[in-house]
Symmetry: C2
């Protein structure tokens, strides 16, 4: 039953990390925050909760050379880095995977997205991404949207039990806590619902409780 | 006959900008550089050549909310921002376009990429990107690879004369200077061939000359 907090603004980030450390499993550093203060200062946030799982959400989508250069600013400071599967393997994800392996950093691939426009394009490649790209690249984890539990289920079915599934979209984007976990995800990613809350710790605890209840219901129903 | 220098590392960036200012048309700030020092310090490079055309190559590929937050770190400091067309319009590029318009910042969309893996996935959506996504979003410019001149020609034919075409892949990635211009591009983007050169100014001048010669040849042949 996993919960990761998405941090997209530096302003309250250290307060949120301190308040929710021990309650949540990890933190996701978003591109807006990384651009705001640069990688070095962003990585210093880890000192407020060093044992948690830290992810850099670069959503890398470039040729291998550039993705490796971008990732090199963050390896050592985070446990995992997120890239897009749609850039393909040759000359792109194969280079990034090799580099991250050499730096003991996990690769997480976006396989599907949560917004309406994703159905127009990204989803058309979903079978190819799940059947060809992901098996070839062998990521530690993948990102699939909590707002589309059927895509989470499909991802779990196709990629098997060992790959981790991280699901954004819980909270402000509309998915209920626990809904992605019930569909087979390992972690739900929650941003504004926690970071914009007046009491991030209490909010995170409430989401934990809601996740537990949802899991009891769906396990009972199964 | 356009030439833009891609800056992906901060180390020599200010020297390269100073050396090539007046020779080239613009500079592209890559994600590796932006992560390295943060947006604010990266934007200070502009003072070494303020009249040039400055582009932030974020290759944004996220939901609208996050792309807008990332872009907000750079608007005011650059003339244009690059995003991926494959994320689609609804809930993604429509939000970014509106935001950038409100900040008088140009939107540039990647429509195709230069590495081998791009043929596996991205290119399968090329017709849809050129026929539906680009016309709906109405970007100021698009990115199409110099290494694939047939894609540059197709992009020009489908999107018409008013959209700007920027073509990376000249130099280290293998395309000859002028090859993309001959195929219909407005700007060629050159990175390492200039930034890693011992004499960036002379190298930029040599590329200008090579571009001119190539254009004479292809115009003569047309």
């Amino acid at each position: 039953m996993g919960l990761i907090v998405a941090l997209d603004s530096y302003e309250r980030a250290s307060d949120v990390v301190r308040a929710t450390c021990g309650i949540v499993d990890g933190f996701k550093l978003g591109l807006p925050l990384l651009l705001e203060v640069g990688a070095e200062r962003a990585l210093e946030l880890r000192r407020f909760c060093s044992g948690a799982f830290w992810v850099a959400d670069l959503k890398l989508a470039d040729i291998g050379h550039v993705m490796v250069a971008a990732a090199s600013r963050l390896v050592g400071g985070v446990d995992a880095i997120i890239a897009h599967s749609f850039v393909g393997v040759a000359g792109a994800l194969e280079d990034l995977k090799l580099f991250l392996e050499s730096k003991s950093t996990k690769l997480i691939l976006v396989v599907a997205m949560s917004h309406p426009g994703a159905a127009e394009l990204y989803e058309k490649l979903l079978d190819q991404i799940l059947d060809e790209v992901a098996p070839k690249v062998g990521p530690w984890g993948v990102v699939a949207p909590a707002t589309r539990p059927e895509l989470v289920r499909l991802t779990r079915r196709k990629l098997g039990p060992s790959v981790k599934i991280l699901s954004p979209g819980v909270g402000a984007q509309g998915a209920q806590p626990g809904s992605a976990l019930c569909a087979g995800a390992d972690y739900e990613i929650v941003g504004r619902a926690i970071t914009a809350s007046e009491d991030p710790r209490r909010k995170a605890e409430a989401i934990r409780v809601a996740q537990g209840r949802a899991l009891e219901r769906c396990a009972g129903g199964a």
